[in-house]
Amino acid sequence: MELLDRYLHAIKFWLPRKQQDDIIAEISEDLHSQIEDHESQLGRKLSDNEVAALLRKRGRPLLVANGYSPQHSLIGPVLFPIYVLVLKIAALCFVVPRMLVLTGFFIFEPKYHTQGLGSLIAHTWSELWFGGFVTFGIVTLIFAVIERTQANSGWLEKWDPLKLPKVKDTRRIPRASSVIEVVIGIIAVMWLVELASSGILLNQANIHIALTAAGREFVWIVTAVSLFGVGMSTLNLFRPFWTRVRLALRVVQDLVLTLVFGLMARAGALIILSGASIPSAKAVEVNAAVNMWISLFVGITAVICAIIAIVDAVRLILMKTNRQGWINQVSGAVQN
């Protein structure tokens, strides 16, 4: 019965140490009884192949031993959905800002201009991969600790149905926000029209700031997009529910603004600064410095527009798949 001994030894390896001998004795006895039964039916000893078939039917040693072990899980079924949600959020918070910073470097830092965006992404891929792996490890570790402590905390029992979050209609547009958008939009459009037609930003005794030809063109484009935005906000005021078409138009508007501000940031001189108090020798230097700061400011605006475009695009996708927004999921999960 060498085969049987080998089988029992393999099972023993995986068993809890304190119970090893007792469990093995019982399994051994059961297998011997089975073999005896078969042998008395056949009227002869079982061959090694026949014993092997019997053991195969009994199951892999690890599986047999597993039946005697208490059920363990790193993260149990109660916490698992929250764990997955946190991992998704962590991935989003980790990857999106890094990609935006990367894009910012690509736009503003001249030394990155020689590389293509693709090679820049490939260059930082290993860093993203390592960071993602560490984030995954930390989140898993935290949840494993919670899993082991929450059983005694009474967290599952202590909850109040009255404190559950209200169901939000993600398609509804608050009228107050539409009113604010319309008012600010009209003021902005009026100012932009004045600025684009006159081309003068500031005209005082000592200092004169005017737009360059390129600057005026950009301001006209921003004015047109802003006017479109005012129209959309006015429509939202009277029909305060997002439709797929309107949300898609909003995404297009965000993308156009991102593109325009991005181009403005790379366009170079947008204004010309002059004045009696500025020595002509210094004028070139001052203009370069001011235009650099304006480029930076406009570049940051482009990044903000890109973030808004992403958020609106996610809302559009969720609306198409008929799912609740993930922001609501997060607030719901924390409350529940």
Binding site: E29, S33, R58, G67, Y68
Partner: protein
Amino acid sequence: MSPNPNSDLFENLKGELRRGSLILAVLAELRSEKYGYTLRKDLADKGMEIDEGTLYPLLRRLESQGLLTSQWREEDKRNKRFYRLSADGELILLRLLVEWENIDASLNKILKEQHHGTTGPVPARN
């Protein structure tokens, strides 16, 4: 012939349905003392097949819960572990049997109502 796509689902549901009944069957069968191998054979003879990988861990669990007692004893020149129902086990078995009868009666009622409302066959009962 292609395999029935629902067969896995059926096997899972059957497993869930049998799980509670198996405990009842094991407790009831151990009103008289038996060792693992004969217990399994007796259950199989009565139509309640149970594989060793399920039975032996179940016996240990029921013993650790105080519903069974066990004793190693020599029989036919081999050491065997004999199980029987404990005093607590007998009380629990009685209560579980009452519960089982209630479930059985409720299920019968539901199935009869269904039968009167539809033309489908009522599943045969053993």
